[in-house]
């Protein structure tokens, strides 16, 4: 990945100013401000219940919020959810999902094939019911689904959850490829600080009482993490990509 300083010279794909979200009587997010340069990646980290998924829902425009969420003109969002409302044992194939998405965004069959190629998923595996796919295959299918229609920004809510270690590694490599080779902007939620330190251009730290924003070298430091999680948190640092 490019260094954060290089990324900061690019125009922004997303600018968020003083974003607040209230769910019922609870203010889940308050006065949150950050930006995401084009063709960079932002990792959102924080303890459970910090409002990370709520932030994604606000960014996707599916819940009301106060403040400003400004996507660059021409932005096309793809969303990969953490949890599916869809039961996995339904007689729905990957092809059913991809066709439905293609119909929604007026994408051609070639664009669907291109999305599958981008995530490295072969056509025959999309003919099986989704319940027959492995965790890694299903996650690739969801990313391909999100990409259909020439999406240029991906929101991924804990994409590696429930995937084995090799699958996680392949997924991380795929996201790097999408960002670097295809100039996609990637915003992802992760609990794996090692992955965040290795792959993210910038980090948004989120808890109910504290938030910070910056490159991994300033966000993933003991004093910030202690404050974010309320206890010391360690992680393994790899060499930069």
């Amino acid at each position: 990945m490019s260094a954060a300083s290089n990324a900061d010279r690019r125009p922004n794909a997303l600018e968020v100013e003083r974003l607040s979200v209230r769910l019922g009587t609870v203010e889940v997010l308050r006065d949150l401000s950050f930006h995401v340069p084009r063709a960079s990646s932002l990792a959102v980290i924080g303890p459970n219940g910090a409002g990370k998924t709520v932030l994604f829902r606000a960014l996707a425009g599916s819940i009301p919020y106060a403040g400003r969420v400004s996507w660059a003109p021409g932005t096309k969002l793809g969303y990969v959810p953490q949890r599916l409302d869809l039961e996995r044992d339904l007689p729905v194939t990957g092809r059913d999902l991809l066709r439905a998405k293609a119909a929604m965004v007026q994408a051609s069959r070639a664009m669907v094939s291109e999305a599958l190629a981008r995530v490295g998923l072969d056509e025959p595996s999309t003919r099986a019911p989704i319940g027959a796919l492995s965790g890694g295959q299903f996650q690739r299918l969801l990313i391909a689904f999100a990409l259909v229609g020439n999406r240029n920004v991906l929101l991924l809510d804990e994409p590696a959850a429930g995937i084995d270690a090799p699958g996680q590694q392949q997924l991380n490599q795929l996201l790097v490829k999408l960002e670097q080779e295809q100039e996609m902007t990637i915003i992802f939620i992760s609990h794996d600080l090692t992955v965040v330190s290795q792959y993210a251009t910038n980090v948004l730290c989120l808890s109910r009482t504290y938030h910070c924003f910056g490159p991994p070298k300033t966000a993933l430091v003991p004093e910030v993490l202690d404050r974010l999680y309320g206890m010391p948190v360690g992680f393994h640092v790899h060499n930069a990509r």
């Binding site: 869809l86 339904l90 007689p91 729905v92 929604m104």
Partner: protein
């Protein structure tokens, strides 16, 4: 089997309603509305009761309260974010209680289980148009309904107006129930929506196959039930649902493809 033009027209309407029920049922099952489907049909009762008091067509009263009930569920769901199953359970159980207070004796039995009725030409045309409207809606909205199954955020980023789609689906569901009240009644119509779809869900390997199978089972149960009713001299509604139930249990003998 049917011979007079009136009986053929009645059968055509029954097949149209079964087709609508088979299609709506697939998405009701996938949206986990199985129990809600049964409860929704109960809201027809107060409408039938009011219509009988006002001496207007009972089906018009049922349709009015079903559509109002669907609107109420949708409004509560979007405003309170309480699960559909919970809202439907509360609203439609109350409707059943109110409906049973307003109708009595034979009227109540007919309302609950359907009864022999002859169709006027306007009723037949309205019924066929209603069934066609539901079928066209489901086939046109099929892709949007599938994408909205994944998650509300995925639907929103795919350009789907989720709340509006939910409303239209509930209205299509309510209209399908209203169309089937004539021969199945408020208690059994939900079954014609759910049982064929549950059978198809078990046997199908893809969405297209599920839709086809559900329609085929719904039509076979309906036509078979009507025929059995004529042969045995019994009410057709319970026979239709019993036949659908038999097909479902027979489907259990086949190993699930998934």
């Amino acid at each position: 089997m049917s011979t007079t033009p009136a009986e053929i027209a009645s059968l055509a309407l029954s097949v149209g309603v079964a087709t609508a029920a088979g299609l709506v049922g697939c998405f009701a099952v996938m949206r986990r509305m199985t129990l809600a489907a049964d409860a929704i049909s109960h809201v027809a009762l107060p409408g039938i009761g009011v219509a009988l008091l006002l001496r207007i067509n009972p089906l018009a009263g049922a349709l009015a309260t079903l559509l109002l009930g669907a609107l109420l569920v949708w409004a509560l769901e979007t405003q309170t974010r309480i699960a559909t199953e919970t809202i439907v359970g509360v609203v439609f159980s109350v409707a059943l209680a109110v409906g049973s207070l307003m109708a009595s004796g034979e009227e109540l039995i007919d309302a609950l289980f359907g009864g022999p009725t002859s169709l006027s030409a306007p009723e037949l045309v309205a019924g066929l148009l209603g069934a066609a409207a539901v079928i066209v809606f489901i086939l046109k909205a099929k892709h949007r309904l599938v994408v909205s199954l994944i998650s509300p955020e995925v639907a929103a980023t795919s350009g789907i107006a989720v709340a509006r789609l939910d409303l239209f689906f509930l209205l299509a569901f309510a209209l399908t129930v209203a169309l089937g009240l004539r021969y199945l009644g408020a208690l059994l119509m939900g079954s014609l929506i759910i049982i064929p779809a549950a059978t198809a869900r078990r046997l199908a390997k893809s969405l297209g196959a599920m839709l086809w199978l559900s329609v085929v089972v719904a039509i076979a149960s309906t036509v078979g039930g009507i025929y059995a009713g004529q042969v045995l001299g019994r009410a057709t509604g319970p026979l239709i649902v019993a036949l659908a139930g038999v097909i479902f249990f027979v489907s259990l003998l086949r190993p699930s493809p998934r």
